[in-house]
């Protein structure tokens, strides 16, 4: 009854972009596009190989962002595994870095809520946050419950937010976020701003009633709204075939009359191209887009069970999964198409950087991450009674625990 043989483990992966950048640039301008598989067909030719226009600096920044996310995740996982004093936790994003990076590279990432493009995140926010421009030190301190953290220690990982860069916040619920995000898009359109709103959401969001509400209102009101659905095949411990009758969730866009694009989420360039297409469309007042990025997470749903210090990824048993967990072979197969490796290869192949420079960037990223965690660990803890602040803008509420 629950078996949808249509879409088990044999996920389609678009062929990696390995051709030389010059060639692709020309090909894209001529209207051809060799590396998109179904995406092109889905977007009815609207997509272009927009990475052709990126400067070397922009490309290097994208590569750097991917590395910053990767090493943030790995460093934090190691800290959780080795430092018994450490209290932070994470829903690790490692494996999905190309999605956040490619999308945010197409966005305006400063100017506060009246200027920046706005990104709504999920319970798995650290990658989105870094890609959107959140300060790593402040985030590390927040995740460590520090009074000087990004959100004063009130938020921790699941509620990180920084409106200044248009990072509207992580959200611990599955469903409501995208609906709220369409409201931001509605306000933006009403005030005549050219901002766009991106909502990140997992494959798990598909089955929520909110999914329909989001796409329907985005379509009806022609909102500057982009739903980036990161299909990493699982919502917690269930394969998405438990909750979705179609193989490509992007197919859900069709009845609403908005484009549904499938993109290879492991390839930052492909993600960027798709995002840029959608962002241009939104800014031009042409409405919403649903982008489904096929991707995978290397760690288990939450925390670092099954992971080993110094090693990437987690395999096998996850105590939280109780009776069902991901096959180790599936994890390993996906790790063969690692977003960091793919990005590195493209950068070198395109002559943007050489192998030595790539190593140099990685080394300085590692240092930056180490510094951020070290800084965070020295920050002050919260004052207990501050829990009574920030309920309303003004004042504090009364303590009631003492009777």
């Amino acid at each position: 009854m629950l078996d949808n043989p249509d879409h088990k483990n044999e996920e389609r992966m678009s062929p990696m972009a390995t051709s030389r950048r010059g060639f692709l640039k020309a090909a894209a301008m001529a209207g051809a596009a060799v590396s998109f598989g179904t995406s092109i067909a889905r977007a009815n030719g609207e997509i272009g190989f927009w990475a052709k226009d990126l400067t070397d600096q922009q490309l290097t920044d994208m590569f750097t962002t991917i590395l910053r996310i990767r090493w943030h995740e790995r460093t934090m996982a190691d800290k959780m595994l080795t430092d018994p004093e450490y209290r932070g936790y994470n829903h690790f994003y490692a494996g999905q870095e190309a999605v956040a990076t490619g999308v945010c590279a197409a966005l305006r990432n400063s100017g506060g809520v009246m200027q920046a493009d706005l990104a709504y995140s999920t319970h798995r926010p650290t990658g989105h946050a870094l890609a959107k421009g959140v300060d790593m030190k402040l985030m590390a301190a927040e995740n460590d419950f520090r009074a000087t953290g990004l959100n004063g220690g009130y938020a921790a990982e699941m509620h990180l937010s920084d409106p200044e860069v248009g990072f509207m916040g992580a959200d611990g619920m599955i469903g409501p976020g995208p609906v709220i995000a369409t409201g931001s898009a509605f306000a933006i359109k009403a005030r005549g701003s050219d901002q766009v709103v991106v909502n990140f959401g997992g494959d798990g969001t598909y089955a929520t009633p909110h999914f329909h509400s989001t796409l329907n209102n985005a379509a009806l009101l022609k909102l500057p709204f982009i739903y980036v659905l990161e299909n990493n095949l699982y919502h917690q411990y269930a394969h998405y075939s438990y909750s979705c009758p179609m193989k490509d969730i992007a197919d859900a866009a069709a009845p609403y009359g908005i484009p549904g694009i499938v993109v290879d989420g492991q390839d930052v360039i492909q993600v960027y191209n798709a995002a840029k297409t959608a962002v241009d469309r939104a800014r031009a007042g042409e409405g919403a887009t649903l982008i489904e990025a096929k991707t995978y997470r290397y760690y288990n749903h939450w925390g670092a069970p099954g992971a080993k210090p110094g090693e990437l990824g987690a395999f096998g048993y996850d105590p939280l999964a109780i009776s069902s967990f991901r096959p180790e072979r599936e994890v390993r197969a996906w790790m063969q198409r690692d977003p960091v490796d793919i990005a590195r290869k493209i950068m070198i192949d395109w002559g943007v950087i050489d192998a030595a420079r790539a190593e140099g960037i990685e080394a300085s990223v590692k240092q930056e991450v180490a510094d951020a965690f070290a800084w965070a660990a020295e920050q002050p803890l919260c004052k207990p009674e501050d829990g009574l602040r920030h309920v309303f803008v003004e004042g504090t509420v009364e303590a009631r625990q003492f009777g």
Partner: protein, 323 residues
């Protein structure tokens, strides 16, 4: 100043704020933001501000509230009018998002938003879902939203102005049964505070506390009791969260008798909170509650009208308490 209906007074408040702030939005579903009043221009927000800012949605109250919240987060003031039928559809997003986001972000979330939640409860004949009056408690338990409930056109306008100007999310409960009330209401904008109860009649024998749709019957009973010589102090809560403990305690310290009146179901009705707050602070008082029984409202007018608290019930309870 002119005699105005509740509905007209409220839309006057909204119209003025929308004229001042070109970014402000209004989202509605069934009840078009239109009102007329003798001797006054018709207010039609949809016409005046256009569909870009005043949107008529599909039947999706969760979207209405979520979108209002999202507009606020993006820096635009926004308000929505949710018809009573859908008043619990957006419950989760108010409880888990609007009410918590400021705190969860360490103060970073911007939420200058108003959720106008219509309440019913006055009309016999419609049964459980269309004659119920119960959401006051659900919304008042949520921290981080101000939950207010006016009971007069004057307060309805002044509290709407305050709500729209408040940087906090406000759940503005709107008892539909009072929409037709008419009284003198100023033409200009004025604010009525969102955290103060008001003493509507002063007295020393007994404190009667109500809110929203129970107030007309409370006042009727209070007048009748006063005419019979009982010195009633009548209080209109106006704000359920935060609740104005001080006004309540001061009154009962004087009267030593407290009767609460609610149209909401007995168990955990606002009156329960009123009694608990007073009981924690006043010694030796006596207490009684009048409320709708813990039963859905039945369709039959005979059953419904018997169950719904009215002035006679209040008078009877007052006499038991004081006598």
């Amino acid at each position: 100043m002119a005699r105005k209906s509740w509905m007209y007074s409220v839309l006057e408040a909204v119209q003025y704020e929308m004229q001042q702030d070109p970014n402000m939005l209004w989202i509605f579903e069934l009840t078009p933001p239109v009102a007329s009043n003798p001797g006054k221009p018709v207010i039609n927000l949809e016409k005046e501000f256009g569909r870009g800012r005043v949107v008529n949605t599909g039947i999706d109250e969760n979207w209405m509230v979520s979108a209002t919240l999202g507009a606020g987060l993006a820096g635009s003031r926004a308000a929505t009018y949710v018809p009573y039928q859908g008043a619990c559809m957006p419950f989760q997003v108010i409880q888990n998002h609007a009410g918590k986001l400021r705190h969860m972000t360490g103060g970073k979330a911007s939420m200058p938003v108003v959720f106008v939640m219509e309440m019913t409860g006055q009309t016999p004949g419609f049964a459980g879902q269309h004659s119920d009056y119960e959401i006051d408690t659900y919304y008042a338990h949520i921290p981080g939203v101000k939950t207010v409930i006016p009971s007069t056109p004057y307060d309805a306008k002044g509290m709407m102005v305050s709500a729209l100007r408040d940087p906090n999310p406000v759940v503005y409960l709107y008892p539909a049964g009072l929409r037709e009330l008419i009284e003198e209401v100023p033409d200009e904008q004025y604010e009525v505070s969102l955290d103060k109860a008001i003493v509507r009649m002063e007295g020393s024998d007994l404190t009667i506390v109500g809110s929203g749709a129970s107030m007309p019957e409370v006042m009727k009973a209070a007048e009748a009791l006063k005419a019979e010589g009982m010195n009633v102090e009548a209080i209109d809560l106006r704000s359920l969260k935060p609740m104005d403990t001080e006004t309540l305690v001061n009154s009962v310290n004087k009267t030593k008798r407290l009767l609460t009146v609610d149209q909401s179901y007995y168990t955990l009705c606002p009156g329960a909170e009123v009694i608990a707050r007073v009981a924690e602070n006043v010694d030796g008082a006596r207490y009684k509650r009048v409320a709708f029984p813990d039963a859905p409202p039945p369709a039959s007018p005979e059953m419904f009208v018997w169950m719904r608290p009215n002035a006679d019930h209040i008078i009877g309870a007052a006499k038991k308490l004081v006598g």
